[in-house]
């Protein structure tokens, strides 16, 4: 096996493992559009990263986190539906990102690589980021799992139980921003959310507890990455979309169950 394929597989597997449990939470909380808004904001992060010459992943992390906090804050005002607020903010950050990118003097940026991902160019350093970050993310998620699950099931019951809502939500958003920052390279801005949502949705039919579903989402994510990469090499198709297609095929097959 060529080394670049091994790197792509390892990186993809790492992201699938982190996305599984987080993706379940996104599905349970009906936040897929929220995730999409955040991933649009990630493009602004890339642009700002180039502009200020800082690490792109850190820039994405920062921008998505600020955007998600803004979203949460605005949703509390209840003047507009959260759907409208998401629509405004997602596209504002996307437009800003494109403007900043166009203003950067003398920088040639492969925009397509950020929109659609370029997993085959993943480096060992990237894999280190995914592995180290993944351990931190999963450990943190394990710590807040009970709280975030309680809040997801019934906010007021959770509050009466004494669960700290703002802290739990803040940590959750930080984790979500992190997964967006690191999976950008794998599947690109446009497909990040699909990697969170689709394996989780597939896992639903095979689970009878939240934890089981998180585990099954990881399994389906791993299969999607493996099949998608294989398909991409075999049919010479782009890797990111191929992974998403593989995930979708698994989802459709899961619908046949019962």
């Amino acid at each position: 096996m060529d080394e670049f394929i091994l790197r792509a597989l390892l990186g993809g597997a790492g992201i699938a493992i982190i996305s599984g449990p987080l993706g379940c939470l996104v599905v349970w909380q009906r936040m897929s559009y929220f995730g999409a808004a955040l991933s649009h904001a990630a493009l602004l992060g890339i642009a700002l990263g180039f502009l200020f010459q800082i690490n792109l992943k850190l820039a994405i992390l920062g921008v998505t986190l600020i955007t998600s906090l803004l979203l949460m804050g605005l949703q509390h005002t209840r003047q507009y539906s959260s759907d409208t607020i998401l629509g405004v903010l997602a596209h504002l950050t996307l437009a800003l990102g494109m403007i900043v990118l166009s203003l950067l003097p003398g920088v040639r940026i492969d925009l397509l690589a950020y929109l659609f991902g370029d997993i085959l160019s993943i480096s060992w350093q990237d894999i280190f980021w995914i592995a180290a970050g993944g351990v931190v993310v999963l450990a943190t998620l394990a710590l807040i799992w009970r709280s975030i699950l309680s809040l997801t099931l019934h906010r007021e019951l959770a509050l009466v139980d004494g669960i700290n809502e703002s802290r739990t939500r803040l940590i959750y958003l930080l984790l979500l921003s992190f997964i967006i920052a690191i999976s950008m390279q794998l599947v690109g801005v446009l497909l990040i959310v699909s990697l969170l949502i689709i394996p989780a949705a597939t896992a639903r039919k095979f689970s009878n507890s939240p934890e089981m579903m998180a585990l099954m989402a990881i399994v389906f994510g791993l299969f999607s990455v493996a099949f998608g990469l294989w398909g991409s090499l075999y049919f010479d198709t782009p890797a990111g979309p191929s992974i998403v297609l593989a995930a979708s095929i698994l989802f459709v097959m899961s619908l046949l169950k019962r």
Binding site: W28, L153, L157, L159, V160, G162, A201, P210, M213
Partner: protein, 260 residues
């Protein structure tokens, strides 16, 4: 805050002149309310009268803009919400749901479910429960920690008539068994009247309160719920000091008062 007095007739919850203002509107206006150990207090009032706000304020989910609230120690209150609204994609059984709230063994959960007549549901998915079953499961969850005060929001919403009466009987039974206080919000006036010690009639401010008989006879109650219903429930009329306008404001005009 003054400490909650222990002993029989212990006050479990006390709201003193509590006001909640949202966007310049007084949702609760100087409401005072107490719940003692061993009594069932029912909160009634039309839609938009602030019942839910009062419950949330009592639970500490809403901070009042004015007034004082005295509660028991943390964990002494248990809440039974109106509905769960769990997303279909979240697989969860009754037992797993209980574990999230309180780490105990299966026997503890079964014992609690037995008290609410729902032991057979322990491995059922939360999505497959009927309205009445859900209420029994939520009640069981609430009593696991043996709370001093149970707070229930519309415990019979979405439950058929036969089930409603059974639920009120169950709530009374739990009150006797646990010797706890109960604060509940309800719409089902007929059943409420039979199964409660004290009725508090709310319309942003405290309209009237007292025993079911006295409240159902009060003109304030008639004004809120319509004369025919009030007549149906009440046998006697008694004297009153104010009337309600369209928006619940108090009109000190006795000319419209029904006489008895």
């Amino acid at each position: 805050m003054s400490p909650v007095q222990p002993g029989p007739g212990q006050t479990l919850l006390s709201l003193q002149n509590v006001s909640v203002i949202r966007r310049g509107e007084r949702i609760l206006d100087q409401v005072s309310l107490t719940v003692q150990r061993g009594e069932i207090v029912t909160l009634i009032g039309p839609n938009g009268s602030g019942k839910s706000t009062l419950v949330k304020t009592a639970l500490g989910l809403i901070k009042p803009d004015n007034g004082k609230i005295v509660r028991g120690p943390r964990g002494s209150m248990a809440y039974v919400p109106q509905s769960m609204g769990i997303d279909e994609t979240l697989p969860i059984t009754v037992q797993r749901f209980f574990r999230l709230h309180n780490r105990a063994d299966r026997a503890t959960y079964v014992a609690a479910l037995e008290q609410t007549g729902a032991a057979h549901l322990i491995d059922t998915s939360m999505h497959h429960l009927s309205g009445g079953e859900m209420r029994r499961v939520l009640l069981a969850r609430a009593i696991i920690r043996k709370p001093a005060l149970l707070i229930l929001d519309e415990p019979t919403a979405g439950v058929d008539i036969g089930g409603q009466a059974a639920l009120y009987t169950l709530i009374q039974h739990l009150r006797d068994k646990l010797q706890c206080g109960v604060l509940l919000v309800s719409h089902d006036l007929h059943i409420v009247m039979a199964a409660t010690d004290r009725v508090v009639c709310l319309n942003r401010h405290l309209c009237c309160s007292g025993s079911p008989e006295s409240v159902s006879q009060s003109p304030e109650f008639a004004n809120l719920f319509g004369d025919s219903l009030a007549r149906e429930l009440a046998v006697y009329h008694h004297h009153h000091d104010h009337e309600h306008g369209l928006h619940g404001e108090i009109c000190h005009d006795k000319t419209h008062a029904p006489h008895g």
